[in-house]
Symmetry: C2
Subunit: 352 residues, 2 copies
């Protein structure tokens, strides 16, 4: 299908707006709590590995399957290397999944509100989004299990709610073997549980991880897909040949070798998350229990665009989604204790 005119570009692309990432303004210094970055630096072992890897060998292509990182990830997650595909961020892995699974008109189901990139990618691949609303408590919608879709995506913990569906509750979703169930665990290191055990039980489950959040490496673009060897092999066919560069491979492997550094930062962020949630509740927000490195602060029925703008004017960036299901909420990243204290103080001023 093409529209009128003589553009070589697809009509579907021409009318698209594209995914709009969280803003990264440079006009002034902000308390930046809008893109779920980790407030703490990456491990010193990552820095060291990167300094070692910077050199003449950059003239050579990386290993196509990022062997060093693939093997290290397999060890970290008690899998074989054949169960791991490394991506240029988990965004690329989502795109790879779409390329490998979605035919034109193909339904792709996911509970909403969730990571809005799913909408963008399904549209781009000519799929048919099947957006199934979460109940107010963000539990698994029963309609998702019955949805006639070969591809189902569950962001767990979910963004922007921060809530988590218990792994065992996802088992019915995985029972249909002709369906690929993608569990996007971008935030799972901040949670009490994860879905890796489902991999042993179901060959049609794919777990996505990223080193952007818990490992403080958003700037390096490192994602991991974990799943059955047969599924990983299909995905590998449709990726770019050299999708992850030499430095990201080195950084990722070093980060996974230093799991303790990540865990220490996660403990701090979980403590701050608790005080952030309490502070928001004290200011009259309702806050679903978060298992991620952000919280959703809601004032049901109240348009929070002015509050978002007020925060921004006073140097605090949070995420606001101007959609019917999220206009009454702000998504706030768990920063340092100091950043969170500043944000709560400004919020109290704006509300008072």
């Amino acid at each position: 299908m093409r529209g009128p005119g003589r553009s070589p570009f697809r009509q579907r692309v021409r009318v698209m707006q594209g995914y709009v990432p969280g803003e990264q303004p440079r006009d002034r210094r902000y308390v930046k709590l809008n893109t779920n970055e980790n407030p703490y630096p990456p491990s010193p072992r990552v820095i060291e590995a990167l300094r070692d890897a910077v050199g003449e060998s950059l003239r050579l292509y990386p290993r196509p399957l990022a062997d060093e990182l693939r093997e290290r990830a397999a060890r970290s997650y008690h899998l074989a290397p054949e169960n791991v595909l490394v991506g240029n961020g988990s965004d690329e892995l989502l795109s790879i999944v779409m390329r490998a699974v979605v035919e034109p008109g193909e339904p792709v189901a996911y509970p909403v509100p969730t990571y809005v990139l799913y909408d963008t990618l399904v549209e781009l691949h000519d799929g048919e989004p099947v957006r199934i609303p979460f109940a107010p408590d963000f539990s698994l919608p029963p309609e998702l299990v019955e949805a006639p879709a070969r591809l189902v995506i569950v962001c767990n913990p979910n963004s922007p709610s921060g809530t988590m569906i218990p792994p065992r509750a996802l088992r019915p979703l995985c029972a249909a073997r002709e369906r690929l169930v993608v569990i996007d665990e971008a935030y799972v290191d901040f949670a009490d549980a994860n879905c890796l055990d489902l991999l042993g039980e179901f060959s049609n489950v794919l777990v996505l991880r990223t080193l952007s959040k818990s490992y403080s490496l958003a700037g390096m673009r490192i994602g991991l897909a974990l799943g059955a060897a047969a599924a990983i092999a299909e995905l590998a066919k449709v990726k770019d040949s050299y999708n992850v560069n030499r430095l990201s491979i080195a950084a990722g492997a070093a980060a996974l070798r230093d799991g303790r550094w990540m865990e220490a930062n996660v403990r701090r962020i979980r403590r701050t998350r608790e005080s952030l949630s309490q502070g928001l509740v004290a200011l009259g927000f309702s806050v679903p229990p978060s298992q991620a490195n952000f919280v959703l602060a809601r004032r049901p029925g109240e348009n929070l665009a002015p509050l978002y703008e007020g925060l921004k004017r006073r140097g605090v960036l949070v995420r606001y989604f101007p959609t019917p299901d999220l206009y009454d909420a702000l998504r706030i990243t768990v920063g340092t204790d100091e950043e969170v204290a500043v944000m709560l103080r400004v919020l109290a001023q704006l509300l008072g």
Copy 2:
């Protein structure tokens, strides 16, 4: 269309083999002349910029459009930043073009033999490859101009022939404004001319560049698409949000700032290319005039698989394509003078 069985993966993907990159064996040290890497290291200014960029800021996402590199590329090529899209290698940019242009069943035309990734990508995007054979002299096939395709790709200089179509000869191809003409200039820094001037004349032309070859940065995955602002804007919609990481941005900008380093290496490679071509001709090969950092060595009608295998057994890797149009040729990267001398000596032994 899905085949029998209960796989969630597309039939088209399940029967695919995927693009097979040049082999990167690790069993021994090779004289590695198979993947067109630059034998000389990247600029010391790149190394320095990378060392500076390695640090705490890696916890933050990169700028979505890789601003620093985009702006630097615009200066280098006398364009505006809006005329530049930065990619995770030019392979990603090719994939982005397909996503933005190719509808199911859409014809995509290119002269062959050429970069085999085009076949893979067109197949993956459900397009219809229109493969138009080059004449023996690798000039522009007139049928390409008439091909009813909204997307035409010309690798120029072409791989694996190394030959170049003069920029002015491509003008008729660009005259149809509803057609996007992608000129893949991955190897153009090794050539006497380039097609940048066509950008001023035609808003439907896209020039692709890579820093992998001439700038010795294959390990960093940095590609550039240059074209009209409106075309670049459409492509930007379908890329991953953060497709190029912080270190690649820093490395790319530093590399472009030190154009002299690249040019000095290119001069050396062009000199070696000359002696390599002469050496091959002396051994009885026919060698089309190369404008790239590799040459195609041909013995018309003779299967060169045994020669390729013989070279490999003796520690020399070159590229062999087991296809009807290339079985009688080897593609040999221009390495250092020493590497080329070793290769020619082994070749002489095998042929003698």
